[in-house]
């Protein structure tokens, strides 16, 4: 088994069909994407152990903090040992984390659930997220955006599978009495472990010098695309890394804040016109645009370039955020919904396009590790975005602003964030000659 996991053993034969690699990546991302749907366990967990929603809510925060930290810490190790071994470790952590959390739920130990889901599972999340990135970029040098978009779309899709699946399992196990949480954790842990192991075992890296038939490096020469290499230890000390860190952080902060507040927001802005069930439908619609944006925008970036794609995200995003208060004043639910659908597609697109942007700027060989370090921007945005939306709303309401108008200032703050993001994106230039290996 250790030999099978060795990087050399995962090198594909010359006639290998590269289209086998994206489903392997999808298998892993569809499993770890369950993290987005973890809130489905919140209420059952409060009943299971008598914990508060705030205490249980920390698991979600831990997921994304540990994701960023583990991706940053283990990215270099991943590049050294290859994606297969990293995928297997991710499967052990993600599946094993659920088993530890099941023991915690059964023993009514919140600390054990934090450890299992949040810390061990969070490590699986980080490693699993970055494990296919550099492999896909090496297999698809001609369509980097589409390839990483496919995998990262799986992360969004994982929540769509995870939420109803967990709900069905909990209902099934409730027949035995209790909340059914620990039994659901055991089942999900086993299913996710097996699916991720299958994905990890399918990973193949291309042989040295492999190129898609008929494609030559430089045949699609674009500004800001290099065929040279910047080492990971050098990359994070370049201004380009921190500009892209800011680009991701600001794009995600704007979207994640809205996503977390989408349901109460539409109900408050259109009070009496949008019921709770319709608001749930709005959240579902945003999820669909989120995953469609991941594959759609990332694929488009192969044609128009990464910088131009982010110019669209930030420029168009600013217009849409600025238009939201107007749609509220007009009382137009369709325009309000349409604005947020496009905003959320660009939020998803931002995640999916960034690995290809990094590969363009720093070269493909260390992109997994560089992407891992960049994901700390996501962890930061996960704290900034929701806090900004929540506190600005509370501040406005405390000043006597009507709830329907309370989001207007938030939207203009988002416009400001996106303007800074646009400036950072436009400042990205090729790295200095001295930075290349």
């Amino acid at each position: 088994m250790p030999g099978f996991l060795a990087k050399e053993r995962s090198v594909a034969p010359p006639d290998y069909n590269r289209w086998l690699v994206p489903p392997a990546a999808l298998a892993i991302h569809l499993c770890i994407g369950q993290a987005y749907a973890y809130s489905v366990f919140n209420l059952p967990l409060t009943r299971e152990g008598g914990w508060t929603l705030a205490q249980v809510g920390w698991i979600f925060t831990l997921f994304f903090v540990v994701l960023g930290l583990s991706a940053a810490l283990f990215g270099r190790w991943l590049e050294r040992v290859g994606p297969r071994k990293a995928g297997v470790v991710a499967a052990c952590c993600w599946g094993g984390g659920y088993l530890i959390a099941a023991a915690g739920a059964r023993a009514h130990s919140l600390a054990l659930i934090y450890l299992g889901n949040g810390v061990v599972g969070g490590c699986g999340l980080g490693l699993g997220y970055i494990s296919p990135v550099s492999t896909l970029i090496k297999w698809f040098p001609d369509r980097r955006g589409m390839a990483t978009g496919l995998a990262i779309m799986g992360f969004g899709g994982g929540a769509m599978i995870g939420a109803p699946l967990a709900d069905l399992l909990m209902k099934h196990f409730q027949a035995d009495g209790g909340t059914g949480v620990w039994q659901t954790f055991v089942t999900l842990g086993a299913v996710y472990f097996l699916a991720m192991m299958a994905g990890a075992c399918l990973y193949r890296i291309p042989p040295d010098g492999w190129r898609p038939p008929g494609w030559t490096p430089g045949s699609q020469a674009k500004p800001l695309v290099t065929d040279r290499v910047v080492h990971v230890d050098r990359a994070w000390r370049t201004p380009q890394f921190w500009l892209l860190w800011a680009v991701l952080c600001l794009n995600v902060s704007a979207g994640i804040g809205v996503l977390g507040q989408a349901s109460p927001m539409i109900q408050e802005v259109f009070k009496g016109r949008v019921a709770a069930s319709a608001a749930a439908g709005f959240v579902g619609l945003l999820s669909l645009f989120n995953i469609a944006g991941r594959i759609g925008w990332a694929s488009l970036s192969d044609r128009i370039g990464r910088r131009a794609t982010y110019v669209v995200f930030f420029g168009f995003g600013m217009l849409l955020y600025a238009a939201v208060p107007l749609t509220g004043r007009m009382g137009s639910v369709p325009l309000f919904v349409a604005s947020f659908c496009v905003i959320l597609s660009m939020y998803g697109g931002g995640f999916a396009t960034i690995p290809a942007y990094l590969a363009d700027i720093f070269g493909a060989p260390f992109v997994g590790a560089i992407h891992g370090r960049l994901l700390t921007a996501w962890s930061t945005a996960g704290i900034i975005g929701p806090a900004l939306v929540n506190y600005l709303r509370q501040f406005q309401i405390a000043r006597g602003v009507a709830p329907a108008e309370a989001y207007n200032v938030t939207m203009f703050v988002m416009v400001g964030l996106l303007a800074v993001g646009l400036a950072c994106n436009l400042a990205v230039r090729p790295v200095a000659e001295s930075a290349y290996v």
């Binding site: 069909n17 999808l26 799986g154 899709g157 769509m160 109803p164 749930a280």
Partner: protein, 38 residues
């Protein structure tokens, strides 16, 4: 079966295996999203 055909079949099977659960998840979400238009 020739190697390219065998690999083609493996590609189709792999996409079906990941595509089916994804399609189920999308369908469940579409059903939820339809509540907005009722």
């Amino acid at each position: 079966m020739s190697e390219p055909r065998r690999q083609g079949a493996a590609v189709a099977l792999a996409w079906i295996l990941v595509g089916l659960p994804l399609a189920w998840g999308v369908w469940m979400t579409v059903r939820k999203a339809m509540m907005l238009f009722r």
